[in-house]
Amino acid sequence: MTILTFTLLLIAGAYLAGLVGSLTGLGGGVVIIPLLTLVFHVDIRYAIGAALLASIANSSGAASAYVKEGITNIRLGMFLEIATTVGAVVGAIVAVYTPVNTIAILFGIILLFSAVMTIRKKNHEVLLQGSPAAAKLKLNNSYPTAKGPVNYQLKNVGAGFGIMTVAGVFSGLLGIGSGALKVLAMDSTMRIPFKVSTTTSNFMIGVTATASAIVYLQRGYMDAGIAFPVVLGVLGGAFTGSKLLSKIDAKVLKYIFCVAIVFVAAEMMFNGFNHKF
């Protein structure tokens, strides 16, 4: 295969990854790693580097819109970034000593978990009485709706912080945004309304991914020949996805995508256990 053929195929694949990733809310990284390793047989370490870049591009692009709308909770994001950045650096260091097959198996597990998180019931209820810790850290806030601003409070700050640390480690180890774990921490544990937790999670992913991406760049995981089609393709796909989101019903797509993810997860884990990486 020539470089030109590879580049064009990868741009098309990354475009689809960005499109589906933004429509389902899972981000591009989840699709990029299986695409590069299973389809193009690229070493998983290069795939992790590319996926981190896809996550940063996706997050910064989407967050720019959400921040302007005032849905994102900037204080909450900054507070939880303590946990995710420390986790991400630890994950990136641990990755050197982790066999690639183990990484593939862990990736499969996280994929399965992401699929479950995508189809579960969302928390739309607003918590009116939060914990003292949340008040002390000034994490309670409000977000705009069609009927005016809605105030919300939150609880379980410690537990949420703990899950965020784990999310950061996985992000650094596997090169993904760990969006599913971040939403688990904010949505289910801290009881933050779904709209705020998804946008704040998206806002944070860029910083989390960068914390480990710098380590990976210095280690040579970021190959320009792979990075270039992935960054452009994912950005284009995510842009199209954000335009389509208001026009189509993403529900059916979400279920189809979840089934596909389960198959991909199974294949990653199967190959990991058989030492195919």
């Binding site: 690229v42 591009a57 302007k68 950045t85 650096v89 970021m222 020949g225 089609p229 960054v231």
Partner: protein
């Protein structure tokens, strides 16, 4: 709670707008540079056979420090230009943290200035911490 900034200097919405614009500008700049580098890369070596990505040679890779990337950009080497775009992409969230830091400082929110500084320190550790294994 909604006020991130004191009324006198900047309104809360202003800093949110600013961060939004900064994030978008970073992504657009990075992708334009990546695109330029990418086109150059295809012109220079599009017809060559694909390097073996199945075998990881990361440790020996050249473009792993800023000075090396800069040298490659000056000499108009395609991979260097792409990597410069990648670095700008990574700098975008970093710059966002600094914007937030300024915002919290103007609001005299000491707790969040400390929190933001801590996050910046972690990033600095991953840049300068000698993590190149």
């Amino acid at each position: 709670m909604k006020k991130l900034f004191s009324k006198h200097l900047l309104a809360d919405q202003d800093i949110e707008q600013l961060i939004g614009i900064q994030l978008r500008a970073g992504v657009v700049t990075a992708s334009i540079i990546v695109l330029i580098g990418g086109i150059l890369y295809l012109i220079q070596s599009g017809g060559s056979l694909l390097p073996s990505y199945a075998h990881f040679g990361g440790e020996k890779a050249e473009l792993t420090s800023f000075s090396a990337i800069w040298q490659a950009v000056i000499h108009f080497r395609a991979k260097g230009i792409i990597t410069l775009g990648v670095v700008i992409l990574m700098a975008t969230p970093l710059l966002r943290i600094m914007f937030s830091l300024v915002g919290f400082a103007i609001e005299k929110d000491r707790m969040y200035v400390l929190i933001t500084l801590f996050v910046l320190m972690v990033m600095a550790f991953s840049i300068f911490g000698g993590l190149k294994v």
